[in-house]
């Protein structure tokens, strides 16, 4: 177990990075506390796998350093860092049995057969693999194979960090939730630092205590799932997390009042200074919009049933505003007025929160 820190880190796949877009991971300083469950969430190509490979040592960063506790491990190869990594596609050694697969990392490190045996059986029991230890690993289902890849990381004592690179991609939907809760349970029992990379917000938000949202090589926001939901620092987070994502309305800001299409909108923490030359937007999640007697007049466009609530799509002029209405609640048929919950309405300048 260890605290993982990245200091002044940058990475580019090009020999001579020139422009900003040449950097796959832009300059960042990050820290993951010892024993925490973390997620790196972002769309494909945002640099999250690059970041993961830098931590595991499969990639050497162009600039900056990687620290495990107080050790600078930037120059260390993966096997010297004592980390575990589970890949998108399950990696098993086809010709070996499940037992030999789990024993492989220990045998490579010269652990005695006696010690190895107890360790392998312990981990197999933890992962519910004990019934199939003698089977050929090649014959297992995708989730079984993924458990073996995880198990090969877990058998080694005191791994510094376990990293997951979209580990549920090839798992059948009905097995996904089972493996996901298994991972959560493992973290609670072992208290190993874990970093989970995914583009699926459900996986990230259910697994992690601390989520980092990445976009375009940058960490846009780091926080608990609740923080990301209630107070997105960037419109990207507002849009990427939540289903449906945050409403963004073009806005103006004068004399301390934010306005959308001429209507004054109260925001949580209005900025003290006037904002000039910036593209302004008001952001509010569908969860915090409701119909009222007065407010912004809108037309109702579409109603979609989402189970316990309905997703209502409305429009004022050319701007669509979505809101959630409870199952039994009344719904205006053609037009109505919208009110926003002040505590959860934010003003964004050029995408970043302004307050």
């Amino acid at each position: 177990m260890a605290r993982i820190s990245l200091k002044d880190l940058r990475h580019s796949y090009r020999e001579q990075p020139v422009t900003d877009s040449d950097w796959a991971v832009k300059r960042l300083d990050l820290e993951w506390t010892d024993g925490s469950a973390n997620a790196l969430l972002g769309p494909s190509g945002c640099g999250k796998t690059t970041l993961l490979n830098i931590i595991s040592g499969l990639l050497k960063p162009t600039e900056g350093s990687v620290w495990f506790d107080d050790r600078d491990v930037t120059a260390h190869p993966p096997d010297a860092r004592n980390i575990a990594q589970v890949f998108q596609f399950p990696v098993v050694y086809d010709t070996m049995s499940v037992y030999d697969n789990l024993a492989f990392p220990l045998r490579n490190r010269g652990v005695s057969e006696q010690e190895l045996d107890s360790r392998v059986r312990e981990i197999a029991a933890l992962l519910d693999l004990d019934a199939m230890l003698e089977q050929r690993a090649a014959g297992l289902t995708a989730d079984g194979k993924q458990k073996i890849s995880l198990g090969r990381g877990l058998v080694r004592l005191d791994v510094a960090v376990i990293m997951f690179d979209e580990p549920l991609t090839v798992i059948d939907p009905h097995l996904k939730w089972r493996l996901r809760s298994k991972l959560k349970e493992l973290h609670q029992r072992l208290r190993t630092t874990m970093i989970y990379v995914t583009h699926d917000q459900t996986e990230a938000l259910t697994f992690a205590d601390q989520v980092m949202v990445m976009n375009d090589g940058m960490i846009v926001q780091a926080g608990t799932p609740v923080e990301l939901f209630e107070r997105p620092r960037h419109t990207f987070v507002g849009h990427f997390i939540g289903s449906p994502g945050m409403n963004l309305l073009p806005a103006t800001f004068e004399d301390g009042v934010a306005r959308f299409a001429g209507f004054a909108v109260e925001v949580a923490a209005p900025p003290k200074t006037p904002l000039t030359d910036a593209r302004l937007e008001i952001g509010v999640r569908p969860e915090f919009v409701r119909f009222g007697a007065d407010g912004i007049p809108v037309r109702v466009l579409k109603v979609r049933d989402g189970g316990r609530y309905r997703v209502v799509e409305t429009a004022h002029g050319a701007t669509t505003i979505k809101l959630l209405v409870g199952e039994g609640d009344a719904l205006p048929s053609e037009s109505g007025h919208l009110k926003f919950d002040r505590a959860h309405t934010q003003l964004y300048a050029d995408g970043w929160i302004a307050s």
Binding site: P77, P78, F87, F89, Y93, D94, P105, N108, S149
Partner: protein, 288 residues
């Protein structure tokens, strides 16, 4: 419910393939079967002889010798070319500009007509004017492949290795290229040695293509004719007379169609049997 009478006209569509296979394989094979049970004389006279030629061939010392030489040759070829091909494939770059250069260089020997390969090596190995033959003699090695059986064998094997190892390389390389990077990354994290990576990742992943490589090299080397015919013509003496060369000597040299037919069929059955054994042994694991 209406029952439809199936339209049987579709069978006609198979006709071109049936004709092709008939002319390509069935008719020639049956002709050989026909010859193998008859005695032939001039003026197209044929007399039925039963299994006489088969019996003679199986008991013939000459056939045994050729078969022994053939098994020895194929054995050496497989033992050299398969490991060498795998080793070269492992050493080849996996990405970058050198990949295509290596692939083209590797494919080159495969593109040369077989009789040209034989002629090239014949000239190369000539003890008086050939680059190889002359150099060896100049270095004090007494080398003359037209007189010494050992030299003839060494030249023959060197020629086949030069000509066909590339095939194994290309197949093995294709197998290696299909291994996802994650396997190597996982192995690095697991602390696997280079040998362990080869033994537990690369070799198992190459198994299918290597099965094909072994089968192809077995069959081709077992039926090899053109190159040794051009290089040594089966000599000196009978020392490099492999099965196919012996067969042609009997069939065309002496025009004994009956014994040649019988020998062809036995030859064919040996290839079939050995191929089946190779295939069964190499794919045994996948069945369980």
């Amino acid at each position: 419910m209406t029952t439809k009478t199936p339209n049987q006209m579709a069978w006609w569509l198979v006709l071109p393939v049936v004709l092709l296979v008939a002319f390509n394989a069935v008719i020639p094979l049956m002709t050989v079967v026909n010859y193998s049970v008859q005695e032939t004389f001039g003026d197209n006279q044929f007399f039925f002889e039963g299994v006489k030629w088969f019996q003679e061939t199986i008991e013939s010392e000459r056939f045994h010798d050729a078969l022994r030489r053939q098994l020895f040759f194929t054995g050496i070829i497989l033992v050299i070319e398969i490991p060498l091909g795998v080793a070269i494939a492992l050493a080849m770059p996996r990405r970058g500009p050198w990949v295509s250069v290596c692939l083209v260089l590797m494919a080159m020997p495969l593109l040369i007509p077989w009789n040209v390969v034989g002629a090239m090596w014949n000239i190369l190995a000539l003890p008086d004017i050939g680059l190889l033959g002359h150099s060896l003699n100049a270095m004090g090695v007494n080398y003359n492949f037209t007189r010494q059986p050992v030299a003839a064998w060494a030249t023959l094997i060197a020629m086949d290795v030069w000509h066909w190892t590339s095939l194994v390389v290309l197949l093995a390389y294709a197998g290696l290229s299909a291994i996802p990077d994650a396997y190597y990354q996982a192995a690095k994290i697991d602390g696997a040695s280079n040998w362990a990576v080869f033994r537990y990742i690369q070799l198992p992943k190459m198994k299918r293509v290597l099965t094909i490589a072994v089968l192809l090299r077995f069959m081709d080397s077992f039926m090899i004719y053109t190159e040794p015919f051009v290089l040594t013509g089966g000599g000196p003496g009978n020392s490099t007379t492999l099965l196919s060369i012996d067969l042609v000597k009997i069939a065309l040299g002496r025009f004994d169609l009956g014994p040649a037919g019988a020998m062809s069929l036995i030859y064919f059955l040996i290839v079939l049997l050995l191929s089946w054994i190779f295939y069964t042994v190499m794919t045994k694991d996948e069945a369980d």
